[in-house]
Subunit: 188 residues, 4 copies
């Protein structure tokens, strides 16, 4: 990827993150960089094209943090995975905002990117659940429902961190794990 292309992409990411897709104009991007409008179109087919690229990059950045859980010490590995992403949210709010505030149904291509991502995450969770059952660690359950519940619990806590309503990633992870593993009932 050429230097100029990276420049535009990175600035576009920052601007899309702070202003949202619709309020950000191509003019905003080129003015912010001090380049000509035509230059933008040398590197990107159109506005949707940059946004797609921004989304792809963002999703891939998060995906890199998701490591397949190895067999030994699965809980520690799980904790690490979750923590790594909550810390990303905490430290790189630009990225987090792009994912959490993506405006669905503008362009099916955009939605696919996020759906694919969430699909993969769900798949990961489902396989982990099934493996857990095989190993006798996880009780029998409807994996389709439970995997979604886990995903939702996690992302909502992520939003809480992004919005500054939840303080620390470390504590949040432990609480999440307790909740997911032990449930809420007292005295068990």
């Amino acid at each position: 990827m050429k230097k100029r292309e990276e420049e535009i992409l990175s600035r576009a990411k920052a601007l899309f993150s702070s202003k949202g897709f619709h309020s950000l104009t191509v003019s905003d991007i080129v003015n912010s960089l001090g380049i000509a409008r035509g230059t933008f179109y040398l590197y990107f087919k159109n506005k949707d094209d940059v946004y797609r690229r921004v989304l792809e990059e963002t999703v891939s950045e998060i995906s890199k943090r998701l490591k397949r859980l190895p067999l030994d010490r699965p809980l520690e590995q799980l904790r690490e995975n979750l923590l790594s992403i909550l810390k990303l949210i905490e430290n790189d709010r630009e990225t987090a905002r792009l994912i959490f505030y993506h405006p669905y149904r503008l362009n099916p291509e955009f939605d696919s990117i996020l759906e694919d991502f969430y699909g993969k995450v769900l798949n990961l969770i489902e396989r982990a659940l099934l493996r857990g059952m095989e190993m006798g660690i996880v009780r029998e359950c409807n994996v389709s429902v439970v995997s979604r519940a886990i995903l939702g619990a996690f992302t909502e806590v992520g939003k809480g961190i992004l919005d500054g309503e939840i303080g620390g990633a470390e504590e949040a992870v432990d609480e999440l794990l307790s909740f997911g593993l032990r449930g809420l009932l007292e005295g068990r």
Copy 2:
């Protein structure tokens, strides 16, 4: 509310739900109803105004289903609340799509409506948790984190139902309750 106003509002709700805020034009609404453009503006100040009204109505419709949990038999009451909303999602996808696919950050007023709603729901959950602890039913936990986790688990399952990925509201509710109350660990 006048008949014509209701007509427009109801059609706008259907159209916003299926096309999203941006792709739906005022022309779409009036053409769909076979009325003049000016008639629309007799009843609504502008496009944002209808969308706001649609959101408000939608949120209030869901809110009506949320009943405060009474003291006796709290679990049955909880199950009923959850089921009622999942069934709403299952049967009135129009309403569900509006809530789940709302494009944030177009207009702060819109966002406030949903934020207020989610805020109230979170508050409900937090108070239920605290009450549960007082009663010795619920174990000690960080209510701020856990309430978000519960909200997220629930809404994500709701999305699964909306998207047809999760079959029945009844089964989903039971699974959700098991997950939240007992957790996932085997043999406890």
Copy 3:
């Protein structure tokens, strides 16, 4: 003229005077009176029609104050005429504003009304000048230019009174007469 017609005309006059032709809508008029939009059109063909009527009434009200100068004591009669109109401006600013701030070139019919009026006034002045010359009171001059100069001097002073920049009608009249009759040069 029917009572309702007068009601509308009088309210329209007040509103046109304060808001100007373009910013005043037919809705403003009917809302201000608490009547239906259709009622307005029972008495007036359209918006231009009311404005024309308002202009006509206004012009005729001023015209009534303009009395032909009689032969004896012409200066006292002139002073009375001028004073009467400046006092009208001073006391009925609604009327004065309509005349002074009429937006030319919206509708030729409107302009005709004022042009006819000013034409008559110019004619009056011209004939007075010619008569004055016959009588040996007024020196020889180009009546076409001088009559306009007199008209302009008078109306501009009228605007000064309307805008509150010139204090009293009495003093203004005397000053105007001195200026027109004796000129500005010292020691003559």
Copy 4:
């Protein structure tokens, strides 16, 4: 100022002058130039913006002709000033129409431009009168009233020239000066 900007401004001036503010649309301007609607908005914020610019330019063009009267031979200098402006009116009716037929009370900003201009002219006249009194050339008078009378006499004669009712600028100036200096009374 860029060439295109000047092109639009100049065409807009001609069109505003002949059609008036309201009947002239932005489409009229761009169609008349054979350019795209968007091009207009590259150079002007909106319709009011061009009109403001046209007014400013027009007023400044006239202001350039108003020279401070020097001490020696004040009457000749005065005559020159007046003549210069009447000739402008005679030869550049476009400019004259813009000033004389400006529709007040559409936009306070517009009115300010003309009020500032007339204010400056009044100030010029007032100071000239006061200086004349100091020098013993001008008799004692109420400068506030008389300066307005002078302004009015002059502008009304200007309108007469614009409308073709008064023939020549030269003769008009001499008549105006006689009127203002000597008054109308015979035999003095």
